[in-house]
C-alpha cells in the first residue's frame, strides 16, 4: 500500500513569521505530498498531537523567534514519549549554526537555513521519510 507522504508543517510558540512555512507547505503539496499546516501559535503539545492525529510521516517546524532551544527539545521529547520514533522531525528558520549540532543530537534531523531552496527541502523530505521508516522498523 503506497500512500503519499504526509507532512505536518508547524509554527510553534508565539512567533508569527509564517511566510517561509507557507511557501514550503505549498511546495511540498505541489510535489504530491499531503500537507497539514497547523497555523501559528501552537504549543509543542499541540504540534505533536496534530502529528499523531494526522498519522504524519514528518513534522517540519519553522522558528524565527529565537525560542528554538526550548521548543525543538520539547517537541522531540514529546515525540519520544508517544513512541513516534518513525516520524521525521526537521526544521527551518533563523537558527544559529552554533545551535544546530545540539538540536541534531536530540533528534532534529535537519535544519534548513535562510536561502535553502524549495527543491532542496522537497528532495530531503522525499528521501528522508522512507529512510527514517526503514530505520524505525529495522527494514
Amino acid at each position: 500500500m503506497k500512500r503519499p507522504i504526509r507532512v505536518v508543517m508547524a509554527k510553534a510558540g508565539l512567533d508569527g513569521h509564517d511566510r517561509g512555512v507557507k511557501v514550503v507547505a505549498r511546495a511540498l503539496r505541489d510535489a504530491g505530498m499531503e500537507v497539514i499546516y497547523t497555523g501559528v501559535h501552537q504549543t509543542p503539545e499541540q504540534v505533536v498531537e496534530t502529528a499523531l492525529q494526522e498519522d504524519a510521516d514528518a513534522v517540519g517546524v519553522s522558528l524565527l523567534s529565537g525560542a528554538h532551544n526550548y521548543i525543538f527539545p520539547r517537541i522531540a521529547e514529546l515525540m519520544r514519549e508517544k513512541g513516534m520514533d518513525d516520524v521525521l522531525l526537521f526544521g527551518g528558520g533563523i537558527i544559529p549554526e552554533a545551535d544546530v549540532p545540539a538540536l541534531a543530537k536530540i533528534g532534529v534531523e535537519r535544519i534548513f537555513q535562510p536561502g535553502a531552496s524549495l527543491e532542496e527541502i522537497t528532495k530531503y523530505v522525499r528521501d528522508a521519510v522512507p529512510k527514517r521508516r526503514g530505520i524505525a522498523t529495522g527494514a
Binding site: 508565539l14 507557507k22 505549498r26 497555523g39 501559528v40 544559529p96 524549495l118
Partner: protein, 559 residues
C-alpha cells in the same frame, strides 16, 4: 518592414523606434532576459516616453508639494525645512538593556524612539505565561506592567522625544502604560507625541499578533481614536502598515492597495462610531516597506499619497485639510536581507533608504546588516543610522523636492500603482469591505500566492539575489551578533512576581473589574486601561479580560 503598409505618420514615434531601431538591435544581440519585470513582476518596457503617460496632467496629477493631491510631498518645503525623522526601531532583553540602547541612540543623533517589544508582550501574554517560555526579551523588550515602562523610559524626556511603539493586539493597554509613566513624572498628556501601531487589520492579513476576533479588535482601535483626539492630540493613534503585508510576500501593488483599503476601513468605522473625520483622520499615519526595486518603491509612496488624498476627499470632503495628508514612516525591507554575504545588506539598505527619501517619507528606519541572524549589535545599528545621515547630508537628494517627478518611467509606474489599487478596491468592496474580506481570507491568500510565485522566480533564476542564486560562495564570513542575556527571562519573572506582591491589591482588583464592566457594556475603554496601568495590572491580566468578553482569534492557517 515590407508587410507594414501604413504611412509612417500614423505610427507613433515610440512605435517607429521599437520596430525599426530597437527591434533590429535586439534581433542582432538578444537581451539579457527574455522578459523584464519589476520585483512585483509587472512587465517593464525597454523605454518610456511621453506616449506612455496617457492623459497625464502634471498640475492635476502631481500638483505642488504641500498641495492636493500631495503626490510631490505632504509639506511645502519637505526636507529643505526639516529632514525626515531618523527613527531606529530598538528593544531587546530587559527594560534596563533597552533603556541603555535608547540613550545611546539619542546621543548618536537619532531624534525619535521606536520600541520593539518581545513576542509575549506583542501577543498580550505575561512573561510567566507558559506560552512565553523561551521568548522573553528575545525579539524585543519585555513589558509586563507599568514598572517595566518606567524603567524603559527612565531619564528620557517624554515631552521632547517622540516615541513610536510597535504594538497591536494589546496596543491600548501598552499605550496606557506609557501615558501612566508620563503622568507619574507630571508630564501632561497633551505634551506627549508619538505613534502606536495599533493596526488590527494587518495582523489578520499578515503579521499574526492578534488577540481578539476582527470586529471587536476594530472597536478597540476606534476607542483609541476617540481618546487620542480628545486627550493626546499630538499622538498618532494608528500606523496603518503595509510593511508586514509586504514582508509576508505581497507585491508592491498589493502592499499599497491592502494598506490604503485598511485605512479607508478604519475611517469608515470611526465615522460610523460617530467620530468627526476632521478630528481623527489627521491622526492616522502610515507605514510602508521599501524594497529593492528602486523606481517601483518611489512610485508606490507617491501614488499612496495621491490615492489617499483623493479617496478621503471623495468620500468625506473634510474641512480640515490635514485629513487628506498621508504621512508615512518607512522601513527598509527586512525580507530582502540575506544571511549569506551579510555585508551586501549594507548596499541593499542604502538603495532602499534612498528610494524612501526620494519617495518623500516622513520618518525612516534603516535595517542593520546582521538582522537575519539576530537583533542588531550596537555597531550594526550605528552603521544603519550613518547610512541615513550620509544620504541626508552628503548625497544632495534632500535639497530639492521630489526630484524624480516628470520621469516618464516613474510617472508611468505611479499611474500603474493607482490602477492596481483601483482593481483591488473594486474586488474588496464587492466582498463587503476589508473586514469581511479578511474574514473570508482573501488578502491572506493573495499574499501567499505572491510569496510562492516570487520564490519560484528566484529558484528558476528569473529573479536574482546576489549571494544566493548568483555569485554565491562557500566561504562564510562570520559576523558578530548580539547575544541576549540568557538570564533575562528569570529576572523578568522575578520582577513581575515582586510587582504582583507589592501592588495595591484592592486598586488592582477593582481596575480589572471596571475594565470588564466597561467592555461588556461597550463603554469607553481607554480610561479603564489607564486606571489598570496605574494599578500595575499586567498586560496578560488585562488581555485575559478582553478575551473573556470578546473571545479569542485562532489562525485559520491559509496556505
Amino acid at each position: 518592414m515590407k508587410q507594414k503598409v501604413e504611412p509612417p505618420a500614423q505610427k507613433s514615434a515610440k512605435q517607429r523606434w521599437l520596430e525599426e531601431v530597437y527591434g533590429a538591435a535586439v534581433k542582432r544581440h538578444p537581451e539579457r532576459r527574455r522578459r523584464f519585470s519589476t520585483l512585483s513582476d509587472d512587465p517593464i518596457e525597454p523605454v518610456y516616453t511621453a506616449e506612455d503617460l496617457g492623459g497625464f496632467d502634471a498640475l492635476r496629477d502631481l500638483g505642488f508639494p504641500g498641495e492636493f493631491p500631495y503626490t510631490r510631498g505632504v509639506q511645502a518645503s519637505m526636507y529643505r525645512g526639516r529632514l525626515w525623522t531618523m527613527r531606529q526601531f530598538a528593544g531587546f532583553g530587559s527594560a534596563e538593556d533597552s533603556n541603555e540602547r535608547f540613550h545611546y541612540l539619542l546621543s548618536q543623533g537619532v531624534n525619535g524612539l521606536s520600541v520593539a517589544f518581545d513576542m509575549p508582550t506583542l501577543m498580550g501574554r505575561d512573561s510567566d505565561d507558559p506560552l512565553s517560555r523561551g521568548e522573553v526579551g528575545r525579539e524585543g523588550v519585555a513589558v509586563d506592567t507599568l514598572r517595566d515602562m518606567e524603567i524603559l523610559f527612565d531619564r528620557i524626556p517624554l515631552d521632547l522625544v517622540t516615541t513610536s511603539m510597535t504594538i497591536n493586539g494589546p496596543a491600548s493597554i501598552v499605550w496606557a502604560m506609557y501615558l501612566a509613566a508620563a503622568e507619574k513624572r507630571a508630564i501632561p498628556l497633551d505634551r506627549l507625541g508619538g505613534t502606536i501601531q495599533n493596526d488590527a487589520l494587518k495582523e489578520y492579513i499578515a503579521q499574526r499578533e492578534w488577540i481578539v476576533p476582527v470586529k471587536p479588535a476594530m472597536s478597540l482601535v476606534v476607542d483609541t481614536f476617540r481618546f487620542g483626539s480628545r486627550e493626546v492630540p499630538r499622538w498618532n493613534t494608528i500606523s496603518i502598515s503595509g510593511y508586514h503585508i509586504r514582508e509576508a510576500g505581497a507585491t508592491a501593488v498589493q502592499e499599497l492597495a491592502f494598506t490604503l483599503i485598511d485605512g479607508l476601513e478604519y475611517v469608515k468605522w470611526g465615522v460610523d462610531a460617530g467620530l468627526d473625520p476632521n478630528d481623527f483622520v489627521p491622526h492616522l499615519s502610515f507605514f510602508f516597506d521599501v524594497h529593492n526595486d528602486f523606481f517601483e518603491e518611489v512610485a508606490k509612496l507617491r501614488a499612496a499619497r495621491r490615492i489617499w488624498a483623493k479617496e478621503i476627499e471623495r468620500r468625506y470632503h473634510p474641512k480640515n485639510e490635514r485629513a487628506l495628508l498621508m504621512r508615512t514612516h518607512a522601513q527598509t525591507a527586512g525580507v530582502s536581507l540575506t544571511a549569506q554575504q551579510p555585508y551586501n545588506n549594507v548596499v541593499r539598505v542604502t538603495l532602499q533608504a534612498l528610494a524612501a527619501v526620494l519617495g518623500g517619507t516622513q520618518s525612516l528606519h534603516t535595517n542593520s546588516l546582521d538582522e537575519t541572524y539576530a537583533l542588531p549589535t550596537k555597531e550594526a545599528v550605528t552603521l544603519a543610522l550613518r547610512t541615513q545621515q550620509v544620504i541626508a547630508h552628503e548625497s544632495g537628494v534632500a535639497d530639492t523636492i521630489d526630484p524624480l517627478a516628470g520621469s516618464y518611467y516613474l510617472e508611468h509606474l505611479t499611474d500603474r500603482m493607482e490602477d492596481g489599487f483601483a482593481r483591488y478596491l473594486a474586488e474588496i468592496e464587492k466582498r463587503g469591505g476589508m473586514v469581511e474580506a479578511v474574514e473570508q481570507g482573501y488578502p491572506q491568500r493573495e499574499i501567499v500566492e505572491s510569496a510562492f510565485h516570487f520564490q519560484q522566480q528566484v529558484e528558476e533564476g528569473e529573479k536574482t539575489i546576489v549571494g544566493i542564486n548568483k555569485y554565491a560562495t562557500d566561504e562564510e564570513v562570520p559576523i558578530p551578533t548580539l547575544a541576549i542575556d540568557p538570564d533575562v527571562e528569570r529576572k523578568q519573572n522575578e520582577r513581575l512576581a515582586e510587582t504582583r506582591r507589592t501592588r495595591d491589591k484592592e486598586r488592582w482588583r477593582s481596575s480589572l473589574e471596571e475594565l470588564r464592566r466597561a467592555a461588556k457594556a461597550k463603554g469607553e475603554l481607554m480610561p479603564r486601561f489607564l486606571e489598570c496601568a496605574r494599578a500595575y495590572a499586567s498586560v496578560g491580566e488585562q488581555v485575559a479580560v478582553l478575551k473573556e468578553v470578546f473571545g479569542e482569534y485562532h489562525d485559520p492557517g491559509y496556505f
